[in-house]
């Protein structure tokens, strides 16, 4: 019974995967590698093809073209029940006619394991629900069902666990709690997790690596810090946190440093952070990287003058300013409430400054 595919371990490789439904391309030439043992998040807006990608990995959908492999073995056309992959479905899909114990034992029994009691009880105590093993799924709360869905999958020790927005139906508090629990379970069992979500905060707090997906393609892939500090496309810059993006024209590039003209001001940035391909670029900076001043500029920093404060909101740890620039664009500025911030009121004229190495530049078409 044990064949190559069902015992495969190693990195998951998707090579040039495309999936079309009729004329519609749901997943478009996707290539990515997910290292064994990692917590990988697939992040993207609704309808971008995340579920379709997971379903192809699970074998519930066949790719139109491309190949999928785990380690050395190609599983592109392997039946779902022969893959070392288990899924935690979005709505959990627990079997309503079976007890919690039998739900969790389902995979083990199908693979012909006779004595399932120890394994099932161990995994139930891992998710702290051992006392509910004789109940039916309908008698569990949403959070409990979610944990059972995880237990039912990991008890099989798959090479790969796919989670399709498993926390989507939970309220915020329970969601935060489950995020911590899932992350803990992943380190505990050491299985590769592929976690699909459209909550950027969830992806950032849980994953080692995030792939940002948009319209069936991967926009950018990297660690949460990399994606946040060095976004490569306009979509990523706006999807992960907030960004200020200002039009500018590249003046010079020394190889180490690029100089951009932004509405008459000279803005500097490391050349490695310029993703623009032509002269016209979008200069980006995160709101919390900007300092706000009522006096004129300090040297050695990027500075934009002539802004007028149009709105101030105090949110406890920080104060958020909305500043209208002379070219009628609103810029967001977050200042820490650490006592160092100047006393600024609505209508004040201000100068905005930030360090060149916090600046990035993007191609406007991206």
């Amino acid at each position: 019974m044990v064949d190559m595919a069902s015992s495969a371990t190693g990195d998951l490789n998707l090579r040039n995967i495309t999936k079309s439904f009729g004329d519609f391309v749901a997943v478009d030439d996707l290539t990515l590698t997910i290292p064994k043992g990692s917590f990988f998040a697939l992040l993207g807006p609704s309808g971008c093809g995340k579920t379709t990608t997971l379903r192809m990995i699970a074998g519930l959908e066949e790719p139109t073209s491309g190949s999928i492999s785990i380690g050395e073995s190609d599983i592109t056309h392997t039946k779902p029940y022969k893959r070392p992959v288990n899924t935690v479905f979005q709505n959990y899909a627990l079997f309503p006619h079976l007890t919690i114990f039998e739900n969790v034992a389902f995979g083990l029994r199908r693979r012909g394991q006779k004595d399932v009691k120890d394994a099932v009880e161990k995994v139930l105590s891992l998710v702290e629900l051992g006392h509910l093993k004789d109940r039916k799924p309908g008698q569990l709360s949403g959070g409990q069902q979610q944990r059972i869905a995880v237990a039912r999958a990991i008890v099989n020790r798959p090479a790969l666990l796919l989670l399709d927005e498993p926390l989507g139906a939970l309220d915020l508090k329970l969601r935060r709690q489950m995020q911590i629990e899932l992350k803990w379970i992943q380190t505990e069992v050491g299985i590769t997790f592929v976690h699909v979500t459209h909550d950027q905060e969830e992806a950032m707090t849980m994953a080692d690596t995030i792939a940002v997906m948009n319209k069936g393609r991967i926009e950018q892939m990297g660690s949460p810090v990399e994606l946040y500090e060095n976004p490569e496309t306009v979509f990523v810059a706006n999807f992960l946190g907030q960004s200020n993006l200002i039009e500018g024209h590249v003046q010079s590039d020394s190889g180490a440093e690029t100089s951009v003209d932004v509405h008459g001001s000279r803005i500097l940035l490391p050349s490695s952070r310029n993703r623009g391909k032509e002269q016209k670029v979008l200069v980006g900076v995160r709101p919390e990287k900007i300092n706000i001043h009522t006096s004129s500029t300090s040297a050695g920093k990027n500075a934009l003058e002539g802004g007028v404060v149009t709105d101030i909101s105090f949110v406890g740890v920080s104060t958020q300013y909305q500043v209208e620039m002379p070219w009628k664009q609103e810029i967001m500025v977050f200042e820490q409430n650490d006592g160092g911030a100047p006393n600024i009121r609505k209508g004040d004229r201000v100068t905005l400054t930030w360090e060149p190495h916090f600046t990035f530049a993007l191609s406007p078409e991206s």
Binding site: Y81, V85, N86, F89, A93, P96, F106, R110, R152
Partner: protein
């Protein structure tokens, strides 16, 4: 006066329920009462209480033969109609094939056609084929009209089945057969059971189509009809009452079992 009207408005629902109940159960109560009638031949006038009808339900000639025929026809046609109907329901609910919508329509036809028309045309068909009316033609006729009800009942259950559950089963190492055996079938089973009960009661109860196609074979409804001209023997009341009580006991037991299970799981 005010007191009375207030009492009325407070108990209106109860009064209404009681009246509706009485209306529904007077015929049943009447049937039961007259199963204890010491009647002789004609069971129309109350002659005095006796248990002898219940002690010997097969006392009247033909009552038990008719009942036996009805049960045989009911069981055979229920079994076959349930199996065939369930298969059709899965095909219609799960697969897209050419002629699916016309099949859907044809399945509904026997339910919409007046029984008297069905019965008469079936008889004409059997005679044209050179088959004499009797036991098997009746079974075939019953299977035909039961299938429609089975398909409709089971299809509703199949349609309400979440396809994610079957995907989850396949994801958890169940092959096609195991997925059906462990997930699909158990989840559709209540629908199949309901369909079988419905089919049996339809078959057992049927008079019109049976009357056309059964020839000399007498079923229970047919026996009651024929003997009503001369007077229905009290044993028929015994059997009718017994059927009612058995059905009632099954329903009540089912309720209790369900409640007990729910309590145990809590």
């Amino acid at each position: 006066m005010r007191e009375v009207s207030r009492w009325f408005s407070r108990n209106l629902i109860r009064i209404y329920a009681a009246l509706a109940f009485i209306y529904l159960f007077i015929p049943v109560a009447y049937t039961m009462a007259f199963s204890f009638n010491d009647s002789g031949k004609r069971n129309l006038i109350w002659q005095g209480f006796t248990l002898k009808n219940w002690a010997n339900p097969c006392g009247a000639p033909e009552v038990c033969t008719a009942l036996g025929n009805s049960l045989k026809i009911g069981v055979i046609s229920t079994l076959i109609a349930t199996i065939l109907g369930t298969m059709i329901a899965f095909a219609l609910g799960r697969y897209n094939f050419r002629g699916r919508s016309s099949t859907n329509l044809i399945i509904f036809l026997p339910m919409a056609t007046p029984e008297i028309v069905l019965g008469a045309s079936l008889l004409a068909m059997f005679l044209n084929l050179g088959i004499n009316p009797g036991f098997w033609p009746t079974v075939i006729a019953h299977i035909m009209f039961c299938i429609s009800f089975v398909v409709v009942t089971v299809k509703a259950r199949v349609a309400s089945l979440d396809p994610k559950l079957e995907e989850a089963a396949r994801d958890l190492y169940a092959n096609e057969y195991q997925t059906f055996r462990r997930v699909t079938f158990p989840l559709v089973l209540p629908g199949i059971a309901a369909a079988a009960l419905l089919a049996f009661s339809l078959s057992f109860d049927d008079f019109i189509i049976t009357n056309f196609n059964s020839g000399t074979v007498t079923t229970f409804p047919k026996f009651v009809w024929i003997s009503s001209a001369r007077g229905v023997p009290a044993q028929a009341n015994v059997i009718g009452s017994a059927m009612f009580l058995i059905a009632l006991i099954i329903v009540v037991a089912g309720q209790f079992a369900g409640n007990a299970r729910a309590k145990r799981n809590r």
